[in-house]
Amino acid sequence: MTETDAMITSHLHTSPHLTEAAARRRAARQRGELIFRSLGLAALGLAALFLVALMYSVFKKSYNGFVQSFITLEIPLDAEILDPEDLAQYQASVGITPNLWAAEITPTARGAKSASRKVQRTAAYKKMVEAMIDQNHGEAFTGYDGDRARNKAISQTAGMISTETLLTIRDRLVSGEYRLGETVTVRALAAGDADVLFKDMKRQTRKNLDSENWILLKESIDANGLSVLTSWRDGRLVSIRPYLGVPRLDLLGWTILERQPGFFGSASSTKPERAGIAAAAQGTFLMLMVVVVLSVPVGVLAAVYLEKFAPRNQFTDFMEININNLAAVPSIIFGILGAAVIIQWLFPGSRGFPIVGGTVLSFMTLPTVIIAARAAIGAVPPSYEQAALGMGASRQQAVFQHVLPAALPGIASGVIIGLAQAAGETAPLLMVGMNAFIKDVCEVGTGCLMARGVGMPSQIYQWAADDDPLFQNKTAAGIVCLLALVISMNALATFIRTRFERSN
């Protein structure tokens, strides 16, 4: 052993880092780090799990909200059911020349039986559907104990057609597009409960496809002791569950189509099958416009002043603290402010107007915009301003010509995040009455800002309160729309920030 080796060996024996106690300390430290890492991973996994569970339940439920079942029917417009005189009178009253009859109907057949049903009642049109079912599919309704039970079953079957479609038939009759006596082909909207049932059956059928593409889902006995086959074949529902009271749908031979998107085109409705997001989306859009118009100029100028021009004193410190605190004030308080100041005091009667909702959301967004804009302005290298000042530019010129343009990407992303926040707020909307039942999309250019409106979150809130299963689906669909809006806005903000701030 050389002298150097000996020195190393003795060092090994004496080094305080190589003792057993040191090894224990090291092991304990490594164990601690391992525990910390696994706890972190577990937390992350749990968060991801919650997110996935939330997304899964929302998206799964939303599918039925986006698509809609339609039934293609041929309905004879029976003159024996609707009162032709009443129809003629009604047409005259709305300024349409009465023109009731299809050409091929002989005059003697007109009003052969007494027809007493009025134009404006949906009962007449439902009766037409019932008559059609009775006539064309009568064999499906055999074995009932008496006419009353049979008629009830037929009536329930006719109830699968949405009232909305019955009203469409009426409107076309009144306008002269349909005439009494002809048989019209109608793509009828399925009523809410039937719609949910069709979708449910279709999904179950998909799971149980057999080799012949003919699926027997289950066989059951209905209230009248009839065997009900629940199955689906070639996109055609051939039977239905007994609880609707509808027997042997296979004998009806109706074709049911899905995925006609009506969700984005229509406003809300008491009928879940007609309810769409359009009016709410319009309301949210209008409010966001108001927010942009109000909070961007005010917020950016306030930020410029505070960051670049305001003297440092107690007053500005006080302002700064308050602005930062305002960002954390619960949104419902802004709603109360709007209700008390704008609606009750300044402009009575403005309840539920998007301009009021937008103003309240502006109050709420303003601190976010100011804070983001100040951060963006503060992040601009002082050299730009110095260079401009050194050239003889005034403070104002330096700030507006050089600092502000360089801060714009940051300001824009702050504004968009503020807008996304505002788009998702529910409480202030409820406080200022932006939760009205709006059944028509406001026609552009008719003062929509000053007409009662609804926002997407409050629309979702309304639907969620209804226990109809299709409204629950519409709720989920509305949530998906709102999420898509907010996520895309945040993505845009991130894009602007990374894309444009890099270049400085």
């Binding site: 440092r312 401009a388 050239m391 050089h402």
Partner: protein
């Protein structure tokens, strides 16, 4: 040196940052067509003094300047003096090249546009070309005036800043350590440029680099702890300093 050859005269200038008395009774003349270098260790007040000459200290809220600084015999801290106009007459080049994030052309044209110096596009083109030529940058950039100024090298950016400063026809150019962020080759190009510009302008340059002062300056002023210790023709200051502190500093004993 006669009175008329002096562009600027500082008399008993005191600067306070809050309670901190950072510049004490400094009196210094800035001759025309001449380079005056300000040297001294960090925190000695040389940059503070430089920033008094075009009132850049105005932008610092707690700064207070006392004494008088005359430009062509007129007190620049006088009440009827517009600080913005003053900064047009006394241009400044900063430590780090700070072109605007715009095109090369727009950088140089910024000042002339700001002050309405050109009535037509041709006039503006002339001013830009002259300034870029004077800054020795024309040959390198004349075919890409519309490209981003930030795409230039550090040395080119600094020359662009010099071109931007001279585009507004200043009477004095202040330079605050203009080469400290540059490599030696870019530095030597800027130094040559400074010597060339000194034929037309009064130049005041703050530098950390004593060799640089020796290479470019006709007069050198040594600052120490807020005092102006000594002003001499550069040769004399470095070779026969009068004050012991100057002697120690130029010998490299401290700083």
């Amino acid at each position: 040196m006669s009175q008329t050859d002096l562009r600027m005269q500082a008399r008993d200038v005191n600067v306070f940052y809050g309670d901190d008395h950072s510049l004490r009774s400094v009196s210094l003349d800035v001759p025309n067509r001449h380079v005056t270098a300000l040297i001294g260790p960090s925190g000695c007040g040389k940059s503070t003094f430089l920033r008094c000459l075009n009132r850049m200290n105005d932008t610092i809220e707690i700064a207070r300047v006392e004494g008088s600084i005359l430009l062509e015999g007129e007190d620049i801290y006088g009440e009827d003096i517009d600080a913005n106009l003053l900064r047009q007459r006394v241009g400044m080049v900063f430590q780090k090249p700070n072109p605007f994030p715009k095109s090369i052309y727009d950088n140089v044209a910024y000042g002339p546009r700001l002050h309405g110096m050109a009535r037509t596009t041709e006039e503006l083109n002339h001013i830009v070309e002259d300034a870029l030529r004077a800054a020795g940058l024309w040959e390198e950039v004349h075919d890409r005036l519309d490209s981003e100024a930030l795409g230039l090298s550090g040395g080119q950016q600094q020359r662009l800043c010099i071109a931007r400063a001279i585009a507004v026809s200043p009477e004095v150019i202040l330079m605050d350590e203009p080469c400290s962020a540059l490599d030696p080759i870019a530095t030597s190009i800027i130094e040559e440029l400074i010597l060339e510009l000194a034929r037309d302008y009064a130049i005041v340059i703050v530098t950390h680099n004593m060799q640089q002062a020796q290479r470019v300056a006709g007069t050198t002023a040594f600052f120490h702890l807020g005092d102006l210790v000594e002003v001499q023709p550069t040769d004399k200051l470095f070779n026969k300093p009068k004050d012991q502190r100057t002697k120690d500093y130029v010998a490299g004993s401290f700083g």
